[in-house]
């Protein structure tokens, strides 16, 4: 589509040149089966094409799925349990061989192999037979995963266990990228994945730390409306410290002037430092990603079984200091709803326990008194000690300070990252009160609300995300109903309503939604940052 209204300068983008990518995390998982989500605007998008893909547009327009390998975003059966796709003509792998529906089926199948773990759980949960299938390495049967049918070389039919109106959004994930069975080398595939996109891997050293991508001659621009592929070469250097990345981008000497990063944001200190520098200020892109940091309650633990206590805490929270602790108003927006404040999620403004900007301790005290804790209350707040400003211990202390005013003494239990994750995601060890965050797998209320509030997603013996262990038939039913909708706008409205309904139960206290600020090199043009995940879209930029 036509690109780039909000950004950028100096003439139309041209083909040619080398784009440098400075990243902190190496692309050590470069296997489409192992990537958790689509890799969005990131490096994998240059090599893997999928059935559908994100709309590469700035802002909210970018939250829609659009066709990629397929001719459309999928044709659902009436109840949305069967989805049919047709491949475009003229699709080729980097070796010139044609891309067939079998290649896509195979790519999905191998994502079930335990050797290639790491992907998102949706395919397992949605596809018929997905819960038991173990991938093509173990299962040598001719038909493989039978819920994916390939009646011919161009057609794929997916059979789902229940209606899933958002299947086109799922089909953006890299598991839907074609993998030629003959070229599959199992766990070693990631060293040199076979490209279906505009670039192919020429060099991959240091386990994805240094990648060199060059044009894939068999990629045809005609079949791909979404990727531009302006630069001739893409040089990805990772394993860098975030501070180094931002420093190099702002200095922009040599190759760094034509550099971007796809995984590093500006931290509060960097933002403060850039401050009034106008030149740098112009080179900052702002991205939104559906994310919420919140206080989670486990009502199975006293005193959080008492809604009044939960409400009191909701009233007492001082979101201003929380936002400041999380990096200030440029990097975090105060949250009063669980759903991120974006239309695609179905955001419907609400504030069931209005705490104002700095908290309402009086109201909180009142509630506490009513709950029988008039003389004060001591609770323990569990948090992660990892030094990441979005969840920094300062957020916990900000909560602690605010609750102090309401007569609640908060003891902090900071846990080391692994320990923290182990505990909060285990039904057995789950603390009563902790800081948690949730982000969307794609921009919709479904993957945002269901794992957290769907009673059937309470996981007993693995990672559980339904922290409140809410199993409310009404909520469950509504989730099922919305999933049946294939009109995503209509669905969004109902997700918003559901969010408000759940919010009134005070099962969590939304704190803030993060905002991402990304710096890019001075010679980089055609900046596109969509609200899908707030990442600068690498497939759009040009350096000439």
């Amino acid at each position: 589509g036509p690109k780039d209204e909000g950004a950028k300068s100096g003439g139309a983008p041209q083909k040619g040149g080398t784009l440098t990518v400075l990243n902190s995390e190496p692309q050590s998982d470069f296997d489409p089966a192992r990537l958790y989500t689509s890799g969005g605007g990131k490096v994998p998008t240059l090599v893997f094409r999928t059935l559908t893909t994100r709309n590469r547009e700035n802002g909210a327009a970018g939250t829609k799925a659009v066709p990629d390998l397929a001719t459309d975003t999928g044709r659902p059966s009436k109840n949305a349990t069967v989805w049919t796709y047709t491949l475009k003509d003229g699709l080729k792998f980097e070796d010139g061989s044609p891309i067939t529906s079998a290649d896509i089926k195979y790519g999905i199948e191998r994502s079930f192999a335990p050797e290639l773990s790491g992907g998102a759980p949706y395919l397992r949960d949605w596809l018929v037979g997905g819960d038991t299938y173990q991938g093509p390495y173990k299962d040598k049967s001719k038909d493989g995963l039978t819920s994916i049918r390939t009646p011919d070389e161009k057609t794929l039919v997916f059979h789902l266990r229940k209606p899933e109106g958002e299947f086109p959004l799922l089909a953006t994930q890299t598991q839907f990228a074609p993998v030629p069975r003959k070229k599959d080398t199992g766990t070693k595939y990631e060293e040199h994945p076979v490209s279906s996109g505009p670039y192919k891997v020429v060099r991959n050293t240091g386990d994805g730390e240094h990648l060199l991508l060059e044009r894939n001659p068999h990629w045809s621009e005609k079949t791909d409306k979404e990727r531009h592929a302006y630069p001739d070469t893409i040089d990805v250097k990772s394993g860098l410290d975030p501070a180094v990345i931002n420093q190099r981008l702002s200095t922009g000497s040599g190759a760094d002037s034509a550099a971007v990063t796809t995984d590093t944001n500006l931290g509060p200190a960097e933002l403060a430092q850039i401050g009034s520098d106008r030149e740098l200020g112009k080179r900052i892109g702002t991205g939104h990603f559906g994310y919420t940091t919140y206080l989670a309650f486990n009502p199975k633990v006293k005193p959080f079984d008492n809604p009044k206590v939960r409400q009191a805490i909701s009233y007492a929270v001082n979101r201003r200091s929380v936002v400041n602790a999380a990096g200030g108003s440029s990097l975090a927006e105060p949250a009063t709803t669980f759903l991120p404040n974006q239309k695609s999620f179905g955001y419907t403004p609400a504030d069931p326990f209005p705490a104002g900007r700095t908290g309402n301790p009086d109201k909180a005290r009142e509630l506490l008194k009513a709950a029988g804790y008039g003389k004060g209350l001591t609770v323990t707040l569990t948090h992660n000690t990892a030094k990441n400003f979005e969840t920094s211990p300062e957020v916990a202390t900000a909560v602690q300070e605010a609750l102090k005013k309401a007569g609640i003494t908060v003891k902090l239990a900071g846990l080391e990252d692994n320990d923290y994750k182990d505990k909060i995601h285990s039904i057995k060890d789950e603390p009563g009160f902790f800081i948690s965050r949730w982000g969307a797998d794609w921009p919709s209320g479904g993957p945002f609300l269901a794992p957290i509030f769907d009673g059937r997603q309470i996981v007993k013996d693995a990672s559980n995300f339904n922290h409140a262990q809410l199993d409310d038939p009404a909520v469950n039913h509504e989730i099922d109903e919305i999933n049946k909708l294939t009109d995503l706008e209509a669905a969004a409205k109902r997700w918003g309503a559901l969010d408000n309904r759940i919010g009134e139960k005070a099962l969590s206290v939304p704190l803030f939604h993060p905002v991402y600020k990304r710096l890019y090199g001075k010679d980089v043009k055609n900046i596109v940052i969509s609200d899908w995940d707030g990442v600068l879209d690498i497939s759009q930029v040009s350096v000439k």
């Binding site: 773990s117 759980p121 199992g186 730390e209 182990d422």
Partner: protein
């Protein structure tokens, strides 16, 4: 001498063996489930179970450890799904996180750490031995006082403070130097050195202080020895006495300490690597501990341990070689 070296090495092997066992044990109590981490954030119980089997975590700890030891000696084979991946003889296993042989990961990080360590060493030797000699010669004078303050400050400053101050001055205010990031030596030697200059300096400032003190006291000690008196009594110039006789006697402990420091640097530069964002062994260790990546943790710890233990052994041998008197009494 050979026998001594052999016994030293035997001892080193035992230490490494114990070290690996200890890490296995510690790992056992450390929080986090590697299978969950490797599987991704939202695996179900069945997936986790399968991944656990895939990683060999279902076996009892002892069996795992024995397999690990076996792998060290004979190598191991791993299934890639479509075929097998052979991990050659000193096989520390595959990373849980990304299935890379640990040896490869270590090999990829080693140049960074080695660049850091060796470069810093050259610098701290120049700085340390130089100032040490100077203050030994000008003892009691103003020069010594100034140098003493310098060395004390140097050794009293944690490396991340020195590093930060250096960053503040040279990168932020003066902007003379790039914010360090690693450029391989083979790629661009000039950039390599330029980028590493600050970390080298930070480490060298810290370490050189120790060397200055050691060189100083060692030189003074040698100066107090009888053979120095002999040469003075024969009219040899003070300069020659110090340059030829005192320095030669003062060097063995410096050499020995240097070997040890170089060894520790291979593992101990964790803070420096973190501060300057250099992707070395120290950073790998931090990362792998965070992700409960046992093979990498064990591999790195053993790698670092080997460096430390070897350095100690080398230091002893060097000391014995450099100081003839040790072997004879």
């Amino acid at each position: 001498m050979t026998g001594y070296v052999l016994r030293r090495l035997g001892g080193a092997l035992i230490v490494l063996f114990l070290l690996s066992a200890l890490v296995y044990l510690l790992f056992y109590v450390a929080p986090g489930d590697p299978a969950k981490l490797a599987c991704g954030p939202r695996c179900n119980a069945e997936q986790i179970r399968q991944v656990r089997g895939q990683l060999g975590l279902n076996e009892p700890l002892l069996t795992q450890y024995l397999h690990f030891l076996q792998g060290l000696v004979t190598g191991r084979d791993y299934s890639t799904g479509t075929g097998v991946l052979h991990c050659d003889a000193p096989c520390f296993g595959l990373s849980y996180q990304n299935d890379q042989p640990v040896t490869e990961l270590l090999a990829a990080r080693l140049p960074v750490t080695a660049s850091l360590a060796w470069g810093a060493m050259v610098l701290w030797l120049l700085l340390g031995v130089g100032t040490g000699l100077l203050s030994a010669l000008r003892r009691g004078g103003l020069t010594e006082r100034v140098l003493t303050v310098f060395t004390l400050t140097g050794s009293a400053t944690p490396v991340f403070i020195t590093g930060l101050l250096l960053l503040m001055v040279f990168c932020a205010y003066l902007q003379w130097l790039p914010f360090p990031s690693y450029v391989p030596l083979s790629e661009d030697p000039e950039q390599w050195a330029w980028n590493l200059l600050l970390p080298w300096t930070a480490l060298a400032l810290l370490e050189s202080a120790k060397y200055a003190r050691l060189t100083r006291s060692s030189t003074l000690e040698t100066l107090a020895e009888d053979h120095i008196r002999t040469f003075r009594a024969y009219g040899v110039r003070e300069r020659t006495v110090i340059g030829r006789h005192a320095l030669r006697g003062a060097l063995p402990p410096v050499i020995a300490l240097n070997a040890i420091d170089l060894g520790t640097m291979f593992g101990g530069a964790m803070l420096t690597e973190t501060l300057f964002g250099l992707p070395g062994l120290g950073q790998l260790l931090v990362h792998s501990v965070r992700t409960v990546d046992l093979p990498v943790v064990v591999g790195t710890v053993l790698g670092i341990g080997t460096a430390v233990v070897l350095a100690n052994a080398v230091a002893d041998v060097l000391y014995a070689l450099a100081d003839r008197r040790v072997t004879l009494t």
